[in-house]
Amino acid sequence: MFLSKKRLGSRNDEVFYFVTNAILAVITLLVLYPLIYIVSASFSSPNAVSSGKVILFPVEFSLEGYEAVFKNNMIVSGYANSLFYTIAGTVINVGLTLIAAYPLSRKDLPGKNILMFIFSFTMIFNGGIIPNYILIRDLGMINTRWALLLPGAISVYNMIVTRTFFQSNIPIELYEATSLDGGSDFKYFTSVVLPLSKAVIAVISLFYALSHWNAFFNAFLYLNNKSLFPLQIVLRDILISTSIDPSLVLDPETMAARQGLADLLKYSLIVVASAPMICLYPFVQKFFIKGVMIGSIKG
């Protein structure tokens, strides 16, 4: 009796496992297919792309799309600018976040709760687009690189992640031991806390770097000098608001060729723009996930 029941149960379970795996396979393919399609299209010929021949694999393999991408000055300078904003911005972010998070992680800091409130409150209420714009304008940062580096330089969320990490990973006994030797808070922070916090520094650096690389809004609001444009603004101009300049069109054949190349360029550009983060991703995946986990602990 017991045996037959168990066997019945496990047969039902086999059905369950099969269905589960099948649903997940469908979901995974739905996520994967557009990505594969974009990569395949980017390696196809302009003609194959504009006549909708690409379904799964590259059709009439060509690198014309990539050649066009790297010949475009705006894309190249946007790439360089984004690299700069990502590196400089992340350094500023991480520095400010660490020096904010550490004192706030100390239970013996008088006024800690009020200070913490000052930071947390900005997560649920803010001045909004226009007052921010007026501020940046009054500070004279419109059309300067600072406009992309300073606003949003501390993400309170990342600060809380870091603070939680300090609280749960740096044993207080260490501090007591160093204090007895007459160590100062500065010295303790730089020589004990920071070396023990490589994991969280990696996590928040990646969070910040990703958000700088993908950022669009601040550049959209504060910059109109083309030489300062980050990649995302250039991307928007090409991917989303393209209109063909009629004066460039000579005859229908040239126009078709131009249109084909313009279509193809978009796919190659999507690949080129997303490649750095997606290539980095398998190596840093565990840090990102760790960040989500630390952040989920109520702090």
């Binding site: 149960g9 496992y17 996520v31 909708g52 100390r106 209420f125 803010n126 501020l135 993908n214 991703y281």
Partner: protein, 295 residues
């Protein structure tokens, strides 16, 4: 005695947060003023609630409010349960390698920028060269009807492109909660003859409800703060009827055309106050009905 050094460390971050977060909050006063560029924020003349009354009486009021609500409620209803279901499915996979592969692949879109995501969406649904059009024509032998310029398609494009991008990523937290379930519970239930499906409902699901509650509060609190970027980028002159939301309207009133700072700030403030109240109310409710709350 040495606490002074901790305050010194905090000095720069505090100055920073005051300048970049609290000064703009003071700037909100122009919502109640007639902003005059020469007089500045403090010198402009008070006009009371005129800007708000103007907004409530304008024909745009109902439209942008409704569009914001449609997009956010739809996003919440569809976007909240899917990562939970996805996590439950992942958790029930026996093959470790299969599990890893599914997770690896479904996290990838999270790393794509909004601009690229919208670019991909536009490419896919382009009625001339898009993949969707190609497949549609292959199956029906007919050209696909226009989607991108169709106002009724906009909420679907917005919500489902987000689900495509974030389902995998948003499930991480649930997968972790599921991994923490005591395996003895499962063993005991199996001995009692519970099928795997039953165990999903009676063991797995209850174990992630606290996490889900917290996330539901956070999402409900953020409901009216639909991000500007994706909506703005998906907008085109043909779909404005459904795609003009409060934040895109604030931008257009304040920073394009006649650039009415005061009026735009009033509209933005109206939105922020609703957001603020929402998150407080939802948190209160959750405190009452469960133990989970943000503060």
């Amino acid at each position: 005695m040495n606490r002074r050094q901790l305050y010194i460390m905090l000095l720069l971050p505090i100055i920073y947060i005051v300048v970049f977060s609290y000064v703009p909050m003071l700037g909100l006063q122009i919502a109640f003023k007639k902003f005059d560029g020469n007089a500045g924020i403090w010198g402009s003349q008070w006009i009371g609630l005129q800007n708000f009354i103007k907004f409530f009486n304008s024909y745009q009021f109902e439209r942008v409010l409704k569009n914001t609500l449609v997009v956010s409620v739809y996003h919440l209803i569809a976007g909240f349960p899917i990562p939970i279901i996805f996590a439950l499915l992942i958790n029930a996979v026996r093959s470790k390698r299969y599990k890893k592969a599914v997770q690896m692949i479904t996290y990838v879109p999270h790393f794509i920028s909004v601009v690229v995501l919208v670019g991909i969406t536009l490419q896919m649904f382009d009625s001339r060269i898009g993949l969707v059009a190609t497949i549609y024509t292959l199956l029906t032998k007919q050209p696909m009807p226009e989607i991108l310029g169709n106002p009724s398609a906009f909420p679907h494009l917005y919500v489902w492109s987000g689900i495509w991008q974030n389902t995998g990523w948003n499930s991480i937290i649930y997968i972790a909660a599921l991994a923490g379930v005591d395996s003895e519970l499962h063993e005991a239930a199996t001995v009692d003859g519970a099928s795997r499906l039953k165990r999903v409902f009676y063991i797995d699901l209850p174990s992630i409800i606290p996490t889900a509650t917290i996330l539901l509060i956070m999402n409900a609190g953020k409901m009216m703060s639909v991000g500007f970027e994706k909506v703005y980028l998906l907008q085109n002159p043909l779909n404005l009827r459904t795609s003009e939301i409060i934040s895109t309207y604030v931008y257009k009133v304040g920073l394009t055309g006649f650039s009415d700072f005061s009026y735009a700030t009033a509209i933005g403030l109206f939105n922020s106050v609703i957001n603020f109240l929402l998150i407080i109310i939802v948190n209160q409710i959750s405190k009452k009905i469960s133990d989970s709350s943000l503060w």
